[in-house]
């Protein structure tokens, strides 16, 4: 069972007034707040352990390297990867996807097809458009049903022997839809294609087992799961990562450099050119421990309770139009109120100390699908409470009155 007040006490940012009101932070799908243990980890690194990793023979460098690599093992355990070399540290989910998409530029040709969906974040659209532009491959789009579910029949008809890669979000950041990735992965593999899952929204909310899923690539960001910004993970099957060409050249990613031919380093270093975000990677371990200690199933349960409560209370508001009512949904709710612009709602809520997200959520094709300029989005984390939802609902009602 989750002790809400005990959890909240660990997050310094939550305890502040915004415009004279207690802060209600419902923009977790954009970035979550950080618990004290994560902050301590960053401070400790810069105050005690600061050194570059993998290079020095001296004490500090070894300490830093050891801690850096311990996060790799933690991340491996967190998603149940077979081998720690399958965990690549990146700047974030966007960077992870770009790393793979960049590699596929030289793997694909004009006969090949990549499949993405209409509900993708721009980060899982644009890298593939760039990949297609340079490789000549074609991009195919799975449509969304009115409910916010993926049109699985359409997906199945798009799949063919031409399909080389499918890139799909695990949970939609704009609609909250939890996609049936188990089924999608199986069907993708049946035509011999590979699959990348954008797990940016899923990693803080759901249990992930990359081996059980048999997923080829899985990406997530630290900052959406109570960790620091500027750190992400790319999981890839060892055999695939070995075949994927390097993303960036530089220090750390080489075995031997001479002007005739450079030999690249083995995994995972082949994909980690330059000095990484050492403090961030080390602090990610603390974030993973924070989640593991609470148990992910408790987090899922708590956030699901919040979601159900929010949906129930929002339904009472006149003119409420939910955007995305998929069969399985995660910890966020997207909506519009008839006659109101989400921007106006967001501005007034901010004035009342409530932080929500408004706009297109970096998913413009999704908004185009629903013929709307954007939505208001409440997204939840482990430290949110039903009381906060009630405060937010009261603020929405007040805003509605002012704007009507």
């Amino acid at each position: 069972m989750i002790d809400g007040s005990k959890i909240r006490a660990q997050f310094p940012t939550l305890h502040q007034k915004v415009n004279g009101k207690d802060l209600v932070y419902f923009d977790n799908a954009a970035s979550s707040q950080k618990p004290q243990i994560v902050l301590n980890s960053i401070a400790r690194y810069y105050s005690h352990d600061n050194a570059n990793v993998h290079r020095g023979v001296h004490y500090l460098s070894q300490e830093a390297t050891c801690k850096f690599e311990k996060t790799r093992t933690s991340a491996q355990a967190f998603i149940n990867a077979k081998n720690s070399c399958e965990i690549i540290f990146t700047k974030g989910t966007t960077d992870s996807i770009n790393l793979v998409a960049n590699g596929y530029r030289s793997i694909l040709n004009k006969e090949d097809e990549i499949i993405i969906s209409e509900m993708e974040h721009h980060s899982n659209i644009v890298p593939w458009q760039m990949c297609c532009e340079l490789s000549g491959a074609r991009l195919k789009i799975i449509p969304i049903l009115d409910s916010g579910d993926l049109d699985m029949e359409a997906f199945e008809s798009l799949l063919s022997e031409k399909t080389k890669l499918v890139a799909i979000t695990h949970i939609s950041n704009a609609l909250g839809t939890i996609n049936p990735i188990e089924k999608i992965i199986k069907e993708t593999h049946m035509v011999g294609a590979k699959i990348l899952i954008d797990g940016a929204q899923a990693a803080p909310h759901t249990f992930i087992d990359v081996q059980a899923l048999d997923v080829d690539y899985y990406c997530f960001s630290a900052h959406k799961m109570y960790g620091p910004t500027g750190v992400g993970v790319l999981y890839g099957k060892e055999v695939l990562l070995n075949k994927l060409p390097p993303y960036q050249g530089g220090g750390e990613m080489i075995k031997e450099v001479n002007f005739k031919k450079t030999i690249y380093a083995d995994l995972p270093h082949k994909f980690e050119a330059g000095t990484p975000n050492v403090a961030g990677v080390i602090a990610l371990k603390a974030a993973l421990e924070f989640i593991t200690d609470l148990k992910i199933e408790n987090i899922t349960k708590h956030e699901d309770d919040l979601l159900q409560h929010a949906i129930k209370e929002l339904s009472e508001i006149s003119g409420m139009q939910f955007v995305g009512e998929a069969r399985k949904r995660a910890a966020l709710v997207s909506f519009n109120i008839k006659g109101l612009h989400s921007y106006d709602v967001g501005v007034l809520l901010d004035e009342m100390g409530v932080a929500i997200r408004t706009g297109h959520h970096c998913a413009q094709p999704t908004m185009q699908r629903y013929k709307i300029p954007g939505t208001a989005r409440m997204s939840f984390a482990i430290y949110n409470t039903k009381q906060e939802i009630d405060n937010c609902i009261a603020a929405i009602k007040k805003a509605q009155k002012m704007l009507a």
Binding site: N19, L340, H341, Y343, D344, V347, L348, E351, M352, T358, G359, P373, M402, L403
Partner: protein, 139 residues
């Protein structure tokens, strides 16, 4: 006809009455509702101002040596803000508009209130209005 300076002074005085930003917003919303709607034929993609979180259309006409602005937005707060800008700048001579310093924005606390993205939107609106003035000035 009041000058740009005089209108700015009026607005500063009006906003001075309000203590909390919530009250200022209420007033801005009211102004937004009263904004003369732009003629439908001017609500084109060409007249959309880039850099705003909501859509803002701006049109300008040149009449008897003065510029008449009309605008609309799909967000009411934005509409209220445009309404204030129009109140200050519309019906003035292009050379006055082009050289004016809109000090009232700072004085009514707008600069501190707006986040960077929203401040950028406001700057885009002012820039567009001044560009019209410059264009008419050179005619």
């Amino acid at each position: 006809m009041a000058s740009i300076q005089e209108i700015q002074a009026e607005i500063i005085e009006e906003f001075d009455v309000f203590e909390a930003w919530m009250e200022k917003y209420e007033y801005i919303i009211e102004l937004g509702k009263g904004l003369p709607i732009i003629d439908a034929k001017h609500k084109t993609d060409n007249n959309l101002i880039k850099g705003c979180q909501s859509r803002v259309w701006l049109h300008a006409d040149h009449q008897d040596g003065k510029i008449i602005y009309s605008a609309d937005s799909d967000a009411i707060i934005t509409k209220g803000i445009v309404a204030i800008l129009i109140r200050v700048l519309s019906n003035q001579a292009p050379e006055e508009i082009a050289k004016t310093n809109l000090a009232f924005i700072d004085k009514i606390g707008f600069k501190n209130q707006l986040s960077q993205t929203r401040a950028n939107g406001l700057s885009s609106m002012i820039k567009e209005m001044k560009l019209y003035a410059l264009a008419f000035q050179n005619k």
